[in-house]
Symmetry: C2
Subunit: 339 residues, 2 copies
């Protein structure tokens, strides 16, 4: 009985986090302090049945491992691409990268199989929740996250709202009337800019996402203006945004111009966000974050109203924003219950 108590005390309060991306399906055991105790990764199956089966298997396996690792799993948090109704635990519709993944109740099957509470939100919102709990967003009441990877995911956390009873509400995700807020990748920064895959034109994503930069890199490569001794192409390697960035770093003026325009576009989008919700912090994350921090700061100082210009722009320190954010939905709930 004594040893049981000790065991209980030594247990690590933890969450299972699931990250459903275009390529991979990942499950992790994450501790209350944000430590990744164990991580599992499989290719994300191409159809609903196989995917759901694999999610349940990976979660069950992880839960069993958690016992061995003396981790007490308090619940499951799911991060997925697409548009999510977090109240219902339902994926409303998905990105093109995840097939057969619209109108899916993901909460019920996981909850039934694991007998645990389940939270769901999209990858952009999860990244923001990760910043709030483990990153630059700690203690910040309203901030925006922008992830520039292949595409662009974004989220906004609770601007100051004046509550009916005079109480001030802070630091909660803005989901919007149709769970489609913070589609900041499709903020238009140019009336007649490049075409965007959403059907509009001049969206910031069409200037500044990894895919947009790759597109420009390929155009330069086709014109024989990209690859040099300093920016070599290794074997069968595909041209990517990394080649463009490397070329710009080595003084290629065409590559510099593309990155300058992309940085300006992202900066203008951020200024538009400042003028709409006036957050106190913008966190840039994803592989392109460090390239964009300086241009975004510069555009803010040139274009924002003084009254919003004191916003901080930081680059994320988090390694696994989607998994950490998914876990935080579980861990925050557990913390509230314990207090």
């Amino acid at each position: 009985c004594f040893s049981q108590d000790i065991d209980h005390i030594l247990e690590t309060q933890s969450a299972l986090a699931v990250d459903l991306g275009g390529t991979n399906l990942r499950v992790a055991i994450i501790s209350m302090k944000g430590g990744i105790v164990k991580k599992f990764c499989q290719p994300n199956p191409k159809n609903y049945e196989a995917r759901m089966e694999l999610i349940l298997k990976m979660c069950t396996d992880a839960a069993i491992q958690a016992v061995d690792l003396n981790c007490r799993i308090l619940g499951v948090g799911v991060s997925t691409g697409g548009r999510v109704n977090p109240q219902e635990g339902v994926i409303i519709d998905s990105t093109k990268l995840i097939k057969e993944w619209s109108g899916i109740d993901i909460r019920t099957p996981i909850s039934d199989a694991l007998h645990l509470p389940v939270w769901v939100d999209n990858d952009g919102n999860c990244a923001a929740l990760a910043e709030r709990k483990f990153g630059h967003g700690r203690g910040v009441e309203d901030f925006v996250t922008i992830i520039t990877g292949t595409g662009m995911q974004t989220a906004a956390l609770g601007p100051t709202t004046r509550h009916r009873r005079g109480i001030i509400q802070h630091g909660e995700l803005i989901h919007g009337s149709t769970f489609c807020a913070a589609e900041l990748g499709h903020i238009t920064v140019s009336l007649d800019g490049p075409e965007c895959k959403c059907g509009s034109r001049g969206c910031v994503e069409a200037f500044a996402s990894g895919l947009a930069l790759q597109h420009e890199a390929k155009k330069l490569h086709d014109a024989d203006l990209l690859i040099t001794e300093e920016v070599p192409l290794k074997g069968e390697e595909t041209i990517t945004a990394a080649h463009l960035i490397s070329a710009a770093q080595h003084g290629n003026p065409k590559a510099e111009a593309v990155l300058r325009t992309a940085g300006t576009a992202l900066g203008v989008a951020v200024v538009n966000i400042l003028h709409t919700v006036n957050p106190s912090l913008v966190v840039l994350s994803g592989v392109l974050a460090s390239s964009y921090q300086a241009p975004v700061q510069q555009v803010i100082s040139q274009r924002a109203l003084c009254s919003v210009g004191n916003v901080k722009v930081l680059t994320s320190d988090l390694q696994e924003p989607a998994l950490l954010g998914a876990a935080s939905m579980v861990l925050d709930f557990a913390t509230r219950r314990m207090n």
Copy 2:
């Protein structure tokens, strides 16, 4: 005693509303149902002392009249140009149109003089509050108002936020971290558009405000391309946006082109708002509202993501949004206390 009770029953629960604009200072007695019982108007004095003195005099006079009109004044609501901290009742800084009006505590002197509670917010936010209580915003949880008059005032009401305790919060004003949210007039819609008075360029206000249209109208007039028999210039009349609209209505292609660009710019700004906070309704008000409704709808159908495209765009029916919104801060508080 009986007659006193009758008197009390017949009393109209009312608010004093103050509207501080660039030109006029207005005070009104407004009933619970939004009726304007009596309205007083004076030129807005050019310095702080004269202005504050006149505000207190007009409010005191109105309160005396209210007794005769059997209106019970429950409090004072103030709408002012500029940036406001509504919690403190302080004007942080003002538009250039109202001099000596920064860092002003307006609540304390009015409250001291009238022995009534006082609420303060800026004109854009007051217009949104008016829509919520008396206009198209009734029962709508999250909407945005855009007033296109000489300049452009805007406000956003409570997007859906997920509350710490799982409660859903709706329908409250977004004030932002430095009370500077909803500066939607300075949303950039063109990386290198016309210069804006804020110091940036390509802001929607620089395309679509009354001043921007007047500027374009004057340019056409100087090139002798505006005034015709159908669009006459009466005597010493100044050229305004109205001449431009009239010329476009009579088929002047240059005037049509200016209005088309302005409508597209406003539409793109609205799409950016949809992608940032995803409201369910946009209310256009001000003199240009009816001219802009169709182009804004069209740009939404062309450029917005399908998931936000079902937003409603309506033209305001309210005659006095600033006064009604100022009154609503008082009336809503009184209603809450009575329930």
